[in-house]
Amino acid sequence: MSEGTLYDKVWDRHAVAELPTGQTQLFVGLHLIHEVTSPQAFGMLRERDMEVAYPELTHATVDHIVPTADQSRPYGDDAAEEMMAELEENVREAGIEFSDPTTGNQGIVHVIGPEQGITQPGKTIVCGDSHTSTHGAFGSLAFGIGTSQIRDVLATGCVAMEKQKVRKIEVTGELSEGVEAKDIILEVIRRLGTDGGVGYVYEYAGEAIESLDIEGRMSICNMSIEGGARAGYVNPDETTYEWLAETDEFADDPEKFERLKPYWESIRSEDDAEYDDVVVVDGDELEPTVTWGTTPGQGVGVTQPIPAPEELPEEKQDTARMSQKHMGVDPGDTMEGYDIDVAFLGSCTNARLPDLRRAAKIVEGREVHPDVRAMVVPGSQRVQEQAEKEGLADVFREAGFDWRNAGCSMCLGMNEDQLEGDEACASSSNRNFIGRQGSKDGRTVLMNPQMVAAAAIEGKVTDVRNLSEVTTV
């Protein structure tokens, strides 16, 4: 078993009791909720006549169903309106703070927690959303839970968990031009598999991780779950503290910052920590990566050949055949040149300011291909506002992108932003599952934001390094 890692330390600090099942009752420091997975939990609470135990440690937003075009109430979609109204009622009754669209603080739950400073090192953070792993970028222990567990957290402030193993993923070297955090995590998932992380928490470390900005770290931790790992984290360091110091939570309260910093420092993994497994990835070798299939593990460097199913491990072959048929790709070809109908720049993986800045650099002075509909959906209202202030929105609009309001949007097709028919989408999101973007015949190609920008302009999957103004992160 691991020893001396951030995971061990944060786990021990939050362990309340051992349950009869052998699971640990773990105290939850921050419970984030949204409109899709929480209403049933509040319903269960009412059935049992229970109240929310720690409303002050709970924070709500609306993201999955919120329209990104016309947000006037009532929403055009009755079902969306009903979910929103239900959430409003639930948070009002329980006294939970709600970053709703009128506050200017609304956005994807995994974008707003960090930007408000409530995501902090050494906190346990849960949310009824698998991409909760995102918050691990700050050295939090953060993971997704189901609705019955949301009920548990609402009612008790705790969640029942089994302790997991820790795998250190050390990314050495330096990323080259056009290569981003997204490419690191796609490579990790390709190598270890979509189920390689089951039973593990991933600790991302090494030179290439340490030199990433906090947003890049979030992109990586975000997709831990795509590799089967429920949580992933990066040890907090100066990059983390610099971000935190600027947030609502600490900007006006430097004393609080100084008071908490020793705790943040104390939960870092020890130099001699023991891990259950260590994997080394050579960051120097990476190139912009795209997916050729229908699981996030089916990635390939943009100049590399799509593998033949027979070359893959036996258990992956059937899925690979089915995926290649769905995508209409052939082994031996590269993904470069694959025709694109839609470009989606958004999601909790890649819709933060630096993501939009890098993409805008590619877009500036160019035009979206006439056969492509391209959209940018900022991760939050704050990202949106800042991007508008910096002129990024104008760059995108002038090139022919649709500039939208904040939400999950086409990442999962729960609002009106969906693929139609067998449209192919260059997407900065996290899942290329069949049907994920709203059409069961739709085709999703995952890639980093610069690559999405390049695909939007060329109308096909394009190696962004062949365009000028590529950003090295």
């Binding site: 309340v16 009869p20 319903g43 029942a160 069961k440």
Partner: protein, 210 residues
């Protein structure tokens, strides 16, 4: 088999499940396949059963496609037999809720995604595992014996079908929770209220209203 709304104590025991089987083949069957997101625009789980595997079962014009959940012979099945990494992807409890409401009481497979398995446990649904050969043999048997009973013995960690009994694995905590009837964790954890408060007070970042 949802939790008893009146009960404030631990849940029912789930020592073993018996029923006919239904195979759903393929690795990496994700939660978007189990229940597409568009059916989650609801504020209760009621009525989700009919949408299980919807896009695998129906075409553009709602015509039925070949899928075991469309076959009459499997309509009353309660034991779902699947392959590897079943339930990967999102944390949506809508996925096991849909399966449960379709009639599934237990899952047998090569492996399950973690959040999915946890969600199943929260509903009292076992997710037991065995190697791929064992699973494929069971799937083939179910295909030939749609009326044949499968007994999933959570306590003994075996699955029995026809004349065959195979050993399966059940995660320790899951086995204890189901066999001892302590899978409804709300009441359990609530009873430790004072210890929870102590833990909260020991954390430097927690400022509660208490």
């Amino acid at each position: 088999m949802s939790a008893d709304a009146e009960s404030d104590g631990p849940a029912d025991t789930v020592r073993h499940i018996s029923g006919t089987g239904v195979p759903v083949r393929g690795n990496d069957i994700d939660t978007d396949q189990i229940i597409p997101a568009r059916f989650m625009k609801v504020v209760t789980f009621d009525g989700l059963g009919q949408f299980s595997f919807f896009d695998q079962r129906f075409g553009d014009d709602d015509e039925e496609k070949a899928h075991s959940f469309n076959e009459d012979r499997f309509r009353d099945s309660s034991v779902l037999v699947v392959n590897a990494n079943f339930g990967c992807g999102s944390s949506r409890e809508h996925a096991p809720q849909a399966l449960m409401r379709w009639g599934i009481d237990a899952l047998v497979g090569e492996s399950f995604a973690e959040i999915f398995a946890g969600n199943c446990l929260a509903l009292g649904i076992p997710t037991v595992t065995a190697d791929s050969e064992t699973i494929e043999a069971l799937q083939a048997w179910v295909d030939e014996n749609p009326d044949g009973d499968i007994d999933v013995d959570v306590e003994a960690e075996t699955v029995t079908y026809g004349e065959t009994t195979v050993e399966v694995e059940v995660d320790d905590a899951q086995r204890k929770a189901l066999v001892e009837g302590v899978w409804d964790t709300t009441a359990l954890m609530k009873s430790n209220k004072n210890a929870v408060r102590e833990t909260a007070e020991s954390l430097p970042y927690v400022e509660t209203d208490d």
